[in-house]
């Protein structure tokens, strides 16, 4: 298990009022389950789900959900619409 920091941006952060959480997971896909456990009780106004997030691991875009994580990794979850 890796101890990682997940930073929420966009609608995820505004809806959950949570800038970041520390979690212990093995792979990137586990992050979504862990977040649902920690924050799933909060009904997001937008109806968005964490698994629809645009994901960055240590500043690099990552679409491989099976990616193994390591201690100290920083994950950014951005809500999937940003235009303005």
């Amino acid at each position: 298990m890796a101890k990682v920091t997940v930073k929420l941006f966009g609608v995820f952060r505004v809806d959950t009022r949570t800038p970041q959480v520390e979690i212990e997971v093995e792979k990137l896909k586990d992050v979504f389950f862990a977040l649902n456990e920690k924050l799933g009780h909060i009904q997001m106004d937008s109806g968005l789900r964490f698994k629809d997030a645009v994901v960055y691991v240590n500043g690099e875009a990552c679409k491989k959900k099976a990616k193994p994580l390591q201690d100290g990794d920083e994950i950014w979850l951005l809500s999937p619409a940003s235009g303005g």
């Binding site: 941006f9 952060r13 629809d52 645009v54 951005l78 999937p80 303005g84």
Partner: protein, 644 residues
Amino acid sequence: MKKPYDGYMGKVLFVDLTNRTHSLFPWTDADRKRTLGGKVMAADILLRHIQFGMQAFDAENWIVVTTGPLTGCGCPNSSRFNISTISPLTGILTSSNCGGDFGLWLKRCGYDAVIFTGKSKSPVTVSITHNDVVFVDASKLWGMTTTETQERLPKRSGKLVIGPAGEHKVLYACVFSGERTAGRGGVGAVFGDKNLKAVTAFGTAMPDVRDREKLRKINEKWVHILRTHPLTGRQLPKLGTAGLIAPMQAHSILATKNFSAGRFDGFEKICGEELAEKHLVRNAACTTCAIRCARMVKVDDKIVKGPELEILGLLGANILNDDIEKIIRWNYVLDELGMDSISAAGTVAFAMELKEKGVRDFGLEFGKTENIEEMFHKIAYREGDGNILADGTRKMSERFGGKEYAIHAKGMELAAYEPRHAVGHGLGYATANRGGCHLNAGYMVVVEGLGLDVDSLTPHGKAALAIMFQNLMEAVSAGGECLFTSYAILPGFLIDKPNWPVTKIILAAFPYVGPVVNLLSHFTKIAKINIPLLPESYAIKYATGIASTMASMLTWGAYGYNTERIANVILGQKADADQLPKRLTNEAQNPNDPRTKVPLDKMKKVYNRARGWKDGIPTWHRLKTLGVPIRKEVYDAAVKEAYR
């Protein structure tokens, strides 16, 4: 006799500030059908008027304030108006689309547009009603800030005012209407040069509409589309444009240290989420807006308009400042002084780099914030070094050097998007008619990462997409609409479900649809359909009676874009003037990835061919196909001069 088209008021007011007279400017239904309104109408009027060598501060330079046919017809986001004139910053046409309520009030006075010519001998306020035009002495208003000035004008009226920056002809001074700004290109300086401190409009007339019931139904549908779309219904109301800082950081397009990088370590302290959590008092909106993206914040115990993404980026990352409270304050100060925050911030960043490179010390340096507010005051009043910064980045680089890192296009400072990681946006900046403007550029970042996630480093298909979005946004603006409404044309599921296989396939194919999009832009009649995601075309039909389809929108856009371009050539724009600073085209943002620079020449070749242009100049054939009103001898002389 009943006018053939509804939606319009049918009259254009012509005001001579030198002689303090007014009359009606001839404008027919054929003109309305050809131009629609807004910035396209203004470009058409100015093209017929301008002469070789005419400059921004000539008395003969006209200020053309236009509305669109949807303004005042009950459509969502339709309170926009436009100001066009010769820009003192760029020397070519500028057009500024503003969300204040002046356009609505102007139409209530019975006018679709007002043109100002000449120069008043002393400060003046022009007061427009539907019976009369009155010239009121504005000596007591001269010297006042934009808020003070508006507070002294009749409460129940539409207002246009300038602040001290406009009075001192700062080349990027802007015009205010309420809290909204006609910001870019220095229209405020042209007001100041004409001693035009303010304009007010009060009336009670309303435009007729062609089919009220159908218009009501399409408006309801339109509001529903805007309120349920991921961009206009969720992201913008919740976070405003400021919500872009984090995704821009992620995509490496957050202009940092005068565009020398695309990421800023301190971005979390200046992002939209920080603004929403710690500083947002409430949302605000332009009249008739269904989106409500504006942020209201507190400064000196007053509730004022908060910073947009541009100023958070350009007075944050771009000058290495992570203090959001300072940015909020500077935003307020710039508004009060009446200056375009994008150009002001870009000029300050350039001055900082000049100091860092040992070229010239203006007392400004990256990461140092103590004296920036003072410098803004000096710029607005043209005091000391402020007098130099008041002329903008291009003139400073011509005087002191540093052209390769003077971040402007055609003299206008770039917005906060670093284009080396969104190369289509770079093409847009270079080809935009008014200069380095993200909106006139076609706002390509909305498909290159900030909405859709199309490959942002490939040049494939970008020219075709840029042309289509430039034309479409030109037409949306001409109709009197907020440009944000055009985002709704992007299907919501492509944005909301970025990880779906279907989405991934569509986005991967996107860069290769260029030839099809080109056909659509060039032979617009192919698109003689209305699509539900673009309700403007329906609304124009039901409001005015003009047969309007997606094809008409693209035709109005192409007409406007080409009209503006040939007007710019007459005003002295040279061949192949669509350029970016060398930092963005020759230096890779990531030294290990040669794709991270803007392959401008390659994209421009495709762009020019698809537009029917040669070296950035429309061919005679293209102009004639579109029906742009220009004589052959004028065209030939302008082109000859462009190559000299």
